[in-house]
């Protein structure tokens, strides 16, 4: 099982793999926002957590169609489906490697990028905590979307339409946790909801993704 994870990480790092693509997009977004809304630091620090969360969502979306599409095109997915590894496990590992390549670097870079948006320092901890709890759900929902659209030409746009509505609860609770944390209010409920969404996704979506893959490979 670990072989699939190792291979995906290796492919992500090698030329054309897309590692850092999400991070670069995140960085550019954060640099562009102050130009768009103006240099007023009050406004910036108020919208910073929301911008960072939306940025995390969009940069995660950027690499979703690669999760299964490349393996589908070169025939690897057919071979994986006939291998002893269950497709449920393959889907879980694909989601994990997607998170390691996009969600984890975003979580780690968010405090630095928060500085660019004049984010208040007390928000940093909550931003990292909410991203760490929420981004795994983004990768898992994205893997499900990718499994549904595998085999469709130019499925990328369709993935966005399928997956963005599913991202909404994560975004709401993630941004809410940071807002409450910044204002010194209790964040337990929002973080608990975020963790519950992630746990629910981890429990259910590998089966849904595997079923979608089986349908599409027929």
């Amino acid at each position: 099982m670990i072989a699939l994870l190792q291979r995906d990480l290796k492919l992500a790092i090698r030329a054309g793999g897309g590692f850092g693509l999400g991070l670069a997009f995140f960085l550019i977004l954060v640099v562009l926002v102050p130009f768009g809304v103006g240099p007023n630091s009050d406004i910036l620090s108020r919208i910073a957590p929301g911008i960072l969360w939306v940025g995390a969502l969009l940069s995660c979306l950027l690499s979703l169609d690669r999760i299964f599409q490349l393996d589908y095109e070169d025939g690897t997915l057919d071979l994986l489906a006939t291998a002893p590894l269950p497709l449920e496990a393959a889907a879980t590992l694909k989601a994990l490697s997607h998170w390691l390549v996009t969600g984890l670097p975003l979580t780690l870079a968010a405090p630095l990028l928060g500085v660019l948006l004049n984010m208040p320092s007390e928000a940093t901890l909550w931003l990292v905590a909410s991203l760490a709890l929420g981004t795994p759900a983004l990768s898992m929902l994205g893997t499900f979307g990718a499994a549904l659209t595998v085999g469709l030409k130019r499925g990328g746009l369709l993935i966005s339409l399928l997956v963005l509505p599913l991202y909404m609860p994560t975004l709401i609770f993630g941004a809410e946790a940071v807002r409450r944390g910044t204002e010194g209010l209790p964040t337990g409920t929002a973080l608990a909801f975020l963790a519950a969404i992630t746990a629910g996704c981890a429990a259910l979506l590998p089966f849904a993704s595997a079923a979608a893959l089986r349908m599409n490979l027929r």
């Binding site: 291979r7 290796k10 492919l11 070169d74 025939g75 071979l79 006939t82 291998a83 002893p84």
Partner: protein, 209 residues
């Protein structure tokens, strides 16, 4: 390994391509599928590999015993030959890639990236994966495409060795491999009559391609 299928009907997409396919293959025997293009060789092989569930009929074996080699090579261009093989060896739990390397004489190519291989070399690498699976039934779809005479001989000796060890094989091919225990099955009689009929819903036709 002995295996058989009985009265099998297979579909590709929404079209039932084959009906009433019945055959059995004995241990150490190879079944060569012969049929014109579009007759359903790939469809049958995908069905045997468990990728497409049959419309009706029975498979008297487990798809877990089938190693499938498709038209596509299934190689990762950015990985070396050795990494590609090691990945499949780990997935199938056989770990050791030496038998595959020996069978297709890949030792001089091991450190080369798959993207720098010729079409024939890619094919050899892809076929050598079969040796790593350790599975009893090989289902091979046009295995000799882009192989030269020497490598066709290498491939058929790999298949012969697999058969001698008690395995069996189903091959879709247009050339004579010179396998000692091969039997030919013509798929043409099993063609489903409706296969050229237009789809029921003209608006769905090709909408998702």
């Amino acid at each position: 390994m002995n295996f058989s299928v009985e009265n099998l009907a297979c579909r590709r997409g929404d079209v039932t391509v084959l009906t009433g396919v019945t055959f059995s293959v004995a241990e150490g025997e190879a079944l060569v599928l012969r049929a014109p293009n579009g007759a359903g060789k790939t469809t049958l092989l995908r069905c045997l590999a468990g990728l497409t569930p049959p419309v009706s009929g029975a498979l008297h074996f487990s798809p877990e015993d089938v190693a499938y080699a498709a038209h596509a090579d299934g190689l990762k261009a950015q990985l070396s030959v050795e990494e590609n093989l090691q990945f499949w060896a780990d997935i199938f739990g056989t770990r050791d890639i030496a038998p595959a390397v020996d069978a297709f004489e890949l030792s001089s190519l091991l450190s080369r990236r798959a993207q720098d291989l010729s079409a024939g070399q890619k094919r050899r690498l892809s076929l050598s994966r079969m040796v790593l699976t350790g599975r009893a039934i090989w289902a091979l779809d046009e295995p000799t495409v882009s192989l030269d005479v020497e490598n066709v001989a290498r491939f058929s000796s790999a298949v012969t060795r697999h058969l001698a060890q008690g395995g069996s094989a189903v091959l879709a091919t247009h050339i004579d491999l010179g396998l000692p225990t091969a039997r030919t099955l013509d798929l043409s009689p099993f063609r489903a009559i409706s296969q050229d009929a237009p789809s029921d819903d003209p608006f769905l036709d090709g909408a998702f391609q």
